[in-house]
C-alpha cells in the first residue's frame, strides 16, 4: 500500500515539475528567438583563440564600436600578451601613441593630454555616464570590457544540465553575434517605433536604442597574398570577429585556463587511479592481517 502511495506521489510530483520545466521554453519563445549557437575556435576543453580573428575583431572594435563603447579595463599592453591577439609590442606601442591620454596634474596643477603608453587603458569615448547618455539620446552604450560574460540568454531545462558536460558557455558571443545580425523590419502588427528606437530580433523586448551599427564592407580587412581578404567583409563575419574579440577582452586568460585545466585533470585522474588501488590494497586485510571479507 505504501508503495502505491509512493508511486502516486512521484507521478504527481513529476507531472508538476514537468509542467514547471516546459513553461520557461514557452515564455522564452515570447521574448524572441534564441541566438543560434555558432562554432567558436575557443570553445571546448582544447579551445584557443584564432589570432587573426582577434586582430580583425579589434579592427572592427576600433573603427566602429569604440566611438561609443569603452573598454576601460583593457590596457594596450594586453593586446600583445600571450593568449590574445598577440600584436607585437612595437605595434602596441605605436597604437597606444595614437591615443591621447589625460594625465596630470602637472606642476602648474593642470591636467594635460599626452600620447598613450602600452600601460594605459583604453580611453573611454565619454567622460562619464551622464555625458554618454546626453550624447546618445538617453541610452548608455555599455562598456565592452566584460560584456561578453554579462550577456546571456535563458538555456532552460534540460539544456542547462547538458551544458555542464558539453561545456557550452558561449551564450555571450552567440547573443552578441545574433544581436548585430538581428536588425530587421518590425513584423506587421508591431507597435510603431518611436524616434531612437530600433527593431532587433534578438534584443529582449525587441526595442534597442543602438541603430544598426555596421554594414557589409564597412571595415577593410587585411588582404591575403591574392589581394583579397581571406574572410568575407560582411556583417555576419564582422559580428563573429568582434564577438570573439569581446570574449578575449572579458576572459584574457581563457587559453591559459584551459591548458592548465587539461594538465590538472590529467594529474587528478592518474592520482585518483593510484589512490583507488592503494585504497583497495589497504582494505584487503584487516589490522590483524585477516582477509577483510
Amino acid at each position: 500500500m505504501s508503495r502505491t502511495s509512493f508511486r502516486l506521489a512521484l507521478t504527481g510530483l513529476a507531472a508538476g515539475l514537468s509542467l514547471a520545466f516546459f513553461q520557461p521554453a514557452a515564455q522564452a519563445a515570447e521574448g524572441g528567438p534564441k541566438p543560434p549557437a555558432l562554432s567558436w575556435s575557443f570553445s571546448g576543453p582544447f579551445g584557443k583563440f584564432d589570432r587573426a580573428q582577434l586582430q580583425r575583431g579589434f579592427k572592427v572594435y576600433k573603427e566602429v564600436c569604440a566611438s561609443c563603447h569603452g573598454a576601460n579595463l583593457v590596457a594596450f599592453r594586453n593586446l600583445s600578451q600571450p593568449g590574445g591577439p598577440e600584436f607585437t609590442p612595437g605595434q602596441v606601442a605605436a597604437l597606444a601613441a595614437t591615443y591621447q591620454i589625460k594625465d596630470g596634474p602637472n606642476e602648474q596643477g593642470e591636467m594635460f593630454d599626452r600620447p598613450g603608453r602600452p600601460a594605459d587603458r583604453f580611453p573611454s569615448p565619454f567622460p562619464n555616464e551622464q555625458a554618454a547618455r546626453a550624447a546618445q539620446g538617453g541610452a548608455y552604450p555599455p562598456d565592452f570590457s566584460v560584456l561578453a560574460k554579462a550577456r546571456t540568454y535563458v538555456r532552460g531545462f534540460p539544456m542547462f544540465v547538458v551544458d555542464i558536460f558539453t561545456q557550452y558557455q558561449e551564450q555571450g558571443p552567440d547573443y552578441i553575434h545574433a544581436l548585430l545580425t538581428g536588425y530587421k523590419e518590425p513584423p506587421a502588427g508591431f507597435p510603431a517605433l518611436l524616434p531612437g528606437q530600433n527593431f532587433n530580433e534578438y534584443m529582449p523586448g525587441h526595442l534597442i536604442a543602438m541603430p544598426k551599427p555596421i554594414s557589409d564592407g564597412q571595415v577593410e580587412y587585411p588582404k591575403g597574398p591574392d589581394g583579397k581578404s581571406p574572410v568575407p567583409e560582411t556583417v555576419d563575419q564582422y559580428a563573429r570577429d568582434v564577438a570573439a574579440f569581446m570574449v578575449w577582452m572579458a576572459e584574457p586568460h581563457l587559453e591559459q585556463r584551459k591548458r592548465l585545466g587539461l594538465q590538472v585533470m590529467a594529474f587528478l585522474v592518474i592520482f585518483a587511479g593510484l589512490l583507488y588501488y592503494t585504497k583497495k590494497k589497504v582494505w584487503s586485510r584487516m589490522p590483524d592481517g585477516s582477509p577483510a571479507h
Binding site: P118, A119, F271, T278, K281
Partner: protein, 182 residues
C-alpha cells in the same frame, strides 16, 4: 595480476604502489604551492606601470635638484654646481667605503647631471638635501636624518651606518636635456 599479489612479489608491488601514490601526492601539493606563491610577485599592471619615464632636465637650474618617482621609488636628479663637481672629483676613491669614481656615476659629457635612487642604503629612508634649505650633510650631498648617514655630492656614502653609495638607476640621455629612466 591475480597471482602477483600472493607471494613475495605482492609486497614489492604494494610498496611500489604506495611509493607512486605518495610521490604523486607530493607533486600535487608542490604544484598547488606555485600559484599561491607566484601571486605575491608584482602583478602585470605594476610591472607595466614600471615602464621607462621621460624627464626634461631644462627646468632644473644649476644648484637645484628634483625628486621623481620610477617604479614607486624616489629618484634624485641634481644639476650640480662647479664646486660640487670639483668636490666630488677631488676625493681619493681608495678611502671610500664603497669605492666609485664620480665618472662611474655620471654620463660622460653630462657631468653636471647626477641621477641616483633616493632611498638611503641603510634602511630605506629618504635622505634630505634635495629641496632648497634642507641640510645636505657634511659633504654637500645628502643627509639621512633617520640614522645619520652622510652622502657626498656624487651620492657616495661618506659617514654613518649606510654600507653603500646611492645606486644609479638605469638611464640614458635621449637628447641634450632629456633623459629616459628605466
Amino acid at each position: 595480476m591475480a597471482h602477483a599479489t600472493d607471494t613475495s612479489t605482492g609486497t614489492t608491488r604494494r610498496d611500489f604502489l604506495m611509493l607512486a601514490t605518495g610521490a604523486a601526492g607530493a607533486v600535487g601539493l608542490g604544484a598547488v604551492v606555485v600559484p599561491l606563491i607566484s601571486q605575491l610577485a608584482p602583478d602585470a599592471q605594476t610591472v607595466a606601470a614600471g615602464a621607462p619615464v621621460d624627464l626634461d632636465l631644462a627646468p632644473i637650474a644649476e644648484g637645484q635638484a628634483i625628486k621623481i618617482f620610477w617604479r614607486g621609488k624616489p629618484i634624485f636628479v641634481r644639476h650640480r654646481t662647479k664646486k660640487e663637481i670639483d668636490e666630488a672629483l677631488a676625493v681619493d676613491v681608495a678611502t671610500l667605503r664603497d669605492p666609485q669614481t664620480d665618472q662611474q656615476r655620471t654620463k660622460a659629457g653630462h657631468e653636471p647631471i647626477l641621477v641616483v635612487f633616493g632611498n638611503c642604503t641603510h634602511l630605506g629612508c629618504i635622505p634630505l638635501g634635495t629641496a632648497p634649505g634642507e641640510p645636505k650633510g657634511e659633504y654637500d650631498g645628502w643627509f639621512c636624518p633617520c640614522h645619520g648617514s652622510h652622502y657626498d655630492s656624487s651620492g657616495r656614502i661618506r659617514k654613518g651606518p649606510a654600507p653603500l653609495n646611492l645606486p644609479v638607476p638605469p638611464y640614458a640621455f635621449t637628447a641634450d636635456t632629456k633623459i629616459r629612466i628605466g
